[in-house]
Symmetry: C2
Subunit: 208 residues, 2 copies
């Protein structure tokens, strides 16, 4: 009898259809593409472009969007520190299930702290967690302000806003950095293309 | 700006690859098969047989097993009443995401209370939630006792065990009842066959 977390009397059920079988069916490898960056850095836009590009190649993707998941699974969580951490943990656990299902799961959320991202990485097997950093200066994100949140944060109407009065910890080493500096402006499809090339090189777009 | 649950300042991101596109790719319809019943009623066995049968037909399934999910996403939850409800709610929310991904999601957990199952049903669109009741008498489940839990419950070593000192509320109306009475013993593959026939009739095994 195993004893896991707060749960005792739980056995692990193995089933005869395994990840590799699903990957064979889908002709791809299940993995998590974790897109991190400031609000307004283009995470959702990249996620959509990536889903489109991969779908056009006949690959099954699913986007876990931090905001969307807060409407359902994580609707019980607030934005206070421990709830933000729990939000990210659950996203990581769900992303792991999708990868196990054989899906290329695109998780898109600010996830500002290294330790939270590292926890999610640790849930997955080596190579199955692909961290993509949207490296866009705060000034550009703030000038875009697609949701008007920076304005609210600057006015003190939102507290603990990443980049304003809460830190964003950029990855020290991650699989892909998508840089955007002043002046340069790669299209979302071009940025997605870089991720797709990475997946292709690493064999994620072929069966296991 | 929407305000959802404990979360404000959250917008819903729509993406150009939709459920119907994924269903077209997979040549199936995403849905949730919710398998409910007493411990030892054969839920996990049915789930596995179902996954095998559907995989053999080229369909993508994923099993969310109540026990397995307690190792990850729900490892923070205990077996006290509110945690059991939260366990089921999260399973429902995750199953909904899988159905949205186009996957035939097989959720297998005791889920003893009608109101918890109805909550999960309410998360999904009409027809996307297929409740399968493993209608096996307690006496048979207890004689099987595959995990030795009934013995522990009878000895008072587990409290609030469904069927012993906590009620199981059978569905009043559900999509499929898999009955097993004393003497009769349909094979898991035959029971799974009944579910697969249902899916076929209702068009789940064809693209949207």
């Amino acid at each position: 009898m195993s004893n896991v977390g707060n749960s005792s009397n739980i056995l692990w059920h193995k089933c005869s259809v395994e990840k590799a079988d699903r990957e064979q069916l889908l002709r791809q490898k299940g993995c998590v593409i974790w897109v991190t960056g400031l609000s307004g850095s283009g995470k959702s836009t990249l996620a959509c472009a990536l889903a489109r590009g991969l779908h056009a190649r006949g690959k099954l993707t699913y986007i876990l969007d931090g905001d969307n998941v807060r409407h359902g699974l994580n609707s019980d969580l607030s934005f206070k520190a421990e709830d933000r951490a729990e939000n990210i943990r659950r996203m990581g656990e769900v992303a792991k299930l999708f990868a196990d299902a054989g899906v290329i799961c695109i998780a898109s959320l600010i996830s500002p702290y290294r330790k939270d991202r590292e926890l999610c990485r640790s849930l997955l097997k080596e190579g199955e967690f692909i961290e993509v950093f949207m490296d866009v200066p705060l000034s550009i994100c703030e000038s875009r302000d697609p949701k008007g949140l920076y304005k609210l944060a600057r006015a003190g109407k939102i507290r603990g806003f990443t980049g304003i009065d809460d830190p964003y910890e950029p990855p020290l080493s991650c699989e892909i950095v998508l840089e955007q500096k002043d002046g340069s402006c790669a299209s979302p499809d071009r940025l997605a293309g870089r991720v797709i090339s990475y997946l292709e090189e690493k064999g994620y777009l072929s069966p296991a």
